[in-house]
Symmetry: C2
Subunit: 434 residues, 2 copies
């Protein structure tokens, strides 16, 4: 088997066998196939796509490149929830406690902020004392005891995916649906999950700008899961405005706390409940999805989801009091209001620009090695559809260092679209792929 021949065939749109896909992944991971052949292969995949069989083989090769977690000692169905990345998307911190409170085992493997999108780990780490670096033994123990534990991606799980991702990042081959699908699914399946609920974001603030692409990605991930005997459902959800009002790490923890106490934004609450319901359903706690929806709702209303989150914060070394006393969280020292010059109806809030602005003042990272400021971010004062007067406050920027404030404020101003006519509300959950 010659690497150049495999690139050639993929380039010409032929299907590679599972053995051939494995040869490429394994060879690259071992350092036997050079970067330059792998990057040419990735670009050929970008254009030619991959068959279902190929993308499953790629996923399995990524999984086989490292260790897999054995969670079989923990009773119950293990269900995770994964978002393709959004702005203000703190649903994991709401739906996971709700599902865990309903009896689902939720091994939550999360990522960090990059570019304009936030990361669950960074949000959690804004809670003083919170540890995301649990050992695998600690992780298993906590899961058995509390049904829920949060950790980051470990280098031992699917290391080939990490190497591929680093190469894609510098060769303009990130935006490939089979490459995204296999990367996500490999990391999920390698950690011993039985089921996954996927939240595929679409719109200006998401990776997928078009619904047709989001659907293809969702279908591909659901298909990979099916072929590996995992139950997978995907929601395709709108990211044409930030989710909720808060964008930024500690700011989002505050909004999570409010939402778990049933005092959060309508859109965030609705999506978190639907995700939790599907986790409960896939976790076989209920027989029907409707029963699962009722249960998720009940766990919100009776406060058990809120208590579950506190319990897990404490278990991971964090100060759970922050959920009641926000002054214990890192707080920004300055705030700048952004107002509108003219009245009308808010017709759009570009989530990507809001995310970029938030990242620019310190809430996110330009590069992986950058550090973040947990206190800063953006809080919206309006949402799409709302009527506003000239001079109304659109949002506030919370900052500790004013250096990048001016640039961030400009971005944020550009993010708001004001129309003279009332605008129709857009659906939040656009479709379901299962």
């Amino acid at each position: 088997m010659r690497t150049v021949d495999l690139i050639h065939r993929k380039r010409d749109g032929e299907e590679l066998s599972p053995e051939e896909v494995h040869f490429l992944v394994d060879g690259y991971t071992r350092g036997e196939i050079p970067d330059y052949q792998t990057s040419a292969f990735l670009m050929a995949v970008f254009y030619s796509g991959m068959s279902d069989r190929e993308v499953s083989a790629l996923t399995q090769s990524f999984i086989a490149s490292g260790t897999t977690l054995d969670l079989s000692s923990i009773p119950g169905v293990k269900v995770d929830k994964h978002s393709t990345g959004g702005v203000g998307d703190k649903t994991s911190l709401i739906s996971a406690p709700l599902a865990a409170a309903a009896g689902v085992v939720v091994p939550m493997i999360s990522g960090r902020a990059l570019g304009h999108t936030g990361g669950t780990l960074d949000k959690l780490e804004s809670i003083p004392g919170f540890r995301t670096d649990l050992s695998l033994d600690e992780f298993r123990e906590q899961l058995a005891k509390h049904n829920l534990a949060f950790i980051g991606q470990t280098a031992e799980v699917a290391p080939a995916d990490g190497r591929f991702y680093a190469l894609r990042d510098v060769t303009a081959t990130v935006e490939s649906i089979p490459l995204i699908a296999s990367s996500i699914m490999a990391k999920k399946i390698a950690v011993g999950l039985d089921a996954v609920v996927l939240d595929v974001k679409v719109g200006a603030g998401a990776f997928m700008k078009k619904q047709v692409d989001a659907r293809r990605l969702a279908q591909m991930m659901v298909g990979i899961g099916r072929r590996m005997d995992k139950r997978v459902q995907a929601l395709i959800t709108d990211m044409n405005q930030p989710l909720g009002y808060a964008v930024g790490n500690a700011l989002e923890i505050m909004e999570v706390s409010q939402t778990l106490q049933n005092a959060g934004p309508a859109d965030l609450t609705r999506l978190s409940l639907e995700l939790a319901a599907r986790m409960i359903f896939l976790g076989k706690i209920t027989k029907t999805l409707d029963e699962a929806r009722e249960m998720a709702q009940a766990r919100l209303l009776d406060g058990s989801g809120y208590r579950k989150f506190k319990e897990v914060i404490t278990a991971q070394g964090g100060n759970a009091q922050v959920l009641d006393r926000f002054e214990l969280l890192p707080n920004a020292t300055g705030a700048q209001e952004i107002t509108t010059a003219r009245g009308g109806y808010v017709s759009g809030i570009d989530a990507e620009l809001i995310g970029q602005a938030s990242s620019m003042i310190g809430a996110g990272r330009g590069a992986k090695e950058d550090s973040i400021d947990p206190a800063v971010g953006v809080i919206l004062e309006v949402k799409v559809g709302q009527k506003i007067e000239a001079g109304s406050i659109l949002c506030r920027l919370y900052y500790t260092n004013g250096d990048q404030l001016e640039g961030a404020a400009e971005l944020v101003e550009d993010a708001f679209r004001i129309s003279q006519h009332p605008v129709d509300e857009r659906d939040l959950i656009l479709e379901v792929v299962s």
Copy 2:
């Protein structure tokens, strides 16, 4: 300017500016842009193609990466002839002496055999004593004195092209029309030519399998030339059977000698005369192409082309007597006849299979560093259209080492198509692009 952004834009089908193309070529040549980004870029070019402006910028960047030859001290128009590579294609060794005998200055920069196609340098080196490693001063001197000199590609001319080619070879990005066009034209223009006659081969034995691709390549090369004030004409010619009867280095020198004495195969003679005529016309020796055709014919009939080739062989240290006494050339020690089991009409002779068989017994190279056996090869006994009886000899394999003989014989047997019905003769010169 970030390399990843340029790859991204090319990937999405956008046009890069000349400065951006130069940035990529220059950065790669200096070692500042890594292989893996360049290979991803090349694969993006494979799929997205290049605009006329981009391919001209690429050609100019290749030229600017090294030294350019100054031939201005030699009076007269400098005209070269280039073939995209065929099987049994020895036209350079016939048309160049004819054109030089007519007064054209022909600085002939040639290549070596690779894969199933032959190389002019290897053919010349089968002549005992012949030196292809002339210094640039020797090259200029010989051109001034004899109008014709043969050398190989030097590392100083368009070195970036060499680096790009080596990378394309291992990343399945060789078969890209803009990459082929810029590679050929950069090497031609960098050596100080005023005009080029291109022979773009199409068919089973050629790089371009389809006439539409050959036409696009020809048009692109003619366009690059035009934008750099070079006169370029391209013939698109059939390579669905080998040209002439002889395939293999010394065997082809013998056929060249016969053809320059007007005793060669009809197809080879016809194409060599047309190429020579276009060199004479572009070299401004005549006012019209028809006059140039008459002149090429005259230089063949009066033996001056033949004498010119002998003169140049002597000038480059070779033994010119070989053209009259073939026993002075390397001769194979064994010959194997390939016969046909059934009679009929020869409807096709797959030039690629003949070329592969010839290469397999030692006439060519699998890899650049392989050595070749100048004596061996294939001599056809029939051509397409000919009527044959069962038991007729189709060709003979000439070999010195019988190791690969059986495999080569099988390839050759597969190369011949025999039909029960008379077949129409195919045009040799399919079209002209100028």
